[in-house]
């Protein structure tokens, strides 16, 4: 876990390890990414981390792209590629292996049981992600209001998320968020 030697190795090791514990997907791993990238490795500041999260949300594609951005800010394009592959390939290989195993031995009860047990864990992790991100980046009342409004609108309406991101960007540009 020491970042002194080769930053690419540190990235590969960090994200390969992290992905193995990322139950519930990349969003659930955000607290861990924050802890490692900001507190442990000092790759990013709090503000840079929040910015990177915003950029990853602004661009299309899977949520795992936040890892690409962390890699890029540590070691440029090579860092972006290494971090992305380290986060994706080991667990994808595992998924492939397990899916073939299950296709052969068709024990439908166990996947369902384990999945049921993991559901509260992954929701708790994602809740913690939202909380930590809100805590570190909503510095003003207006900012917290925008977050709350987007949360409510996305929960009760079928509005495309894109509109809320756009509205947030406009409010920010107008200097209303501070």
């Amino acid at each position: 876990m020491n970042s002194d030697a080769n930053p690419l190795l540190a990235l590969a090791w960090t994200f390969a390890l992290m992905s193995l514990f990322a139950v519930g997907g990349a969003s659930a791993a955000i607290p861990e990414m924050h802890r490692v990238a900001v507190d442990v490795q000092h790759w990013l500041t709090d503000r840079q981390f929040a910015d990177i999260y915003a950029i990853s949300q602004l661009s299309p594609g899977p949520n795992v792209l936040i890892v690409t951005l962390i890699g890029y800010s540590v070691a440029g394009i090579a860092g972006a590629l290494v971090a992305t592959l380290a986060m994706c390939v080991p667990t994808a290989a595992l998924a492939l292996y397990v899916s073939r195993l299950l296709a052969r031995s068709r024990q439908a009860r166990w996947p369902a049981l384990i999945q049921a047990a993991l559901v509260p864990l992954s929701i708790g992790l994602m809740g913690a992600s939202g909380f930590i991100l809100a805590w570190t980046s909503d510095r003003t009342v207006a900012a917290a209001l925008v977050t709350a409004t987007a949360a409510v609108l996305a929960s009760v309406t079928r509005l495309s998320p894109l509109w809320m991101l756009l509205a947030g960007g406009c409010l920010g540009f107008a200097g209303l968020i501070g």
Binding site: E32, R35, P111, L171
Partner: protein, 214 residues
Amino acid sequence: MGWRSPNHRSRFFVMPPDSPPDAAPAPDLSTSASPSLIALFVAFAKMSLSGFGGVLVWARRGIVDQHRWMTADEFNETFALCHFLPGPNIVNLTFVFGSRFRGLAGAIAAFTGLVGPPVVIVTVLAALYQRYGEIDALRRILAGVSCAAIGLLISTVFRMMLPLIKRRDLIGTVILAAVFVAIGLLRLPLPAVLLVATPLSIAITVVMRWTDAA
């Protein structure tokens, strides 16, 4: 990521564990035209590039509704598997899906389609950010977008919690809250928390199923 229909899980549970998988002739319809490697790449690139704030909705739309490469049930089962395995769900799904049709080459083609184009886009954005990140207007816009994005994440959590609340799943809610406190408030390292919480949660679920069945 936030996609999870309430009836999807219950359906999964009612299914008898020993139901013969090959009895239904349905897959012939869905898998009649096995997609080529290029078709896999293009389809996943399209899904990925339409996926602002999560690809899963688009993946389901593309695989089930548009291309009919899988039935809704097949998709649900594949996703359920990928959801309880570690790693980015949608990446796992892409890999498993691609391999089902074209082996490892199919997995790599689908994965490259899913991740390749957005990685290029996001890297360009990152380069712009590194160069112009200190410009005030850009900083303000990003701050606004980030506030809204966090709100979207919170709403996903809310939608995922709904089935638990509807079922009055007290134990699930307690586990959920404990994980939230450990990670969100106490900031404990994730591996340690999961090493304790995962076996505990599985054990509780198994015991509950037994007592329910008895």
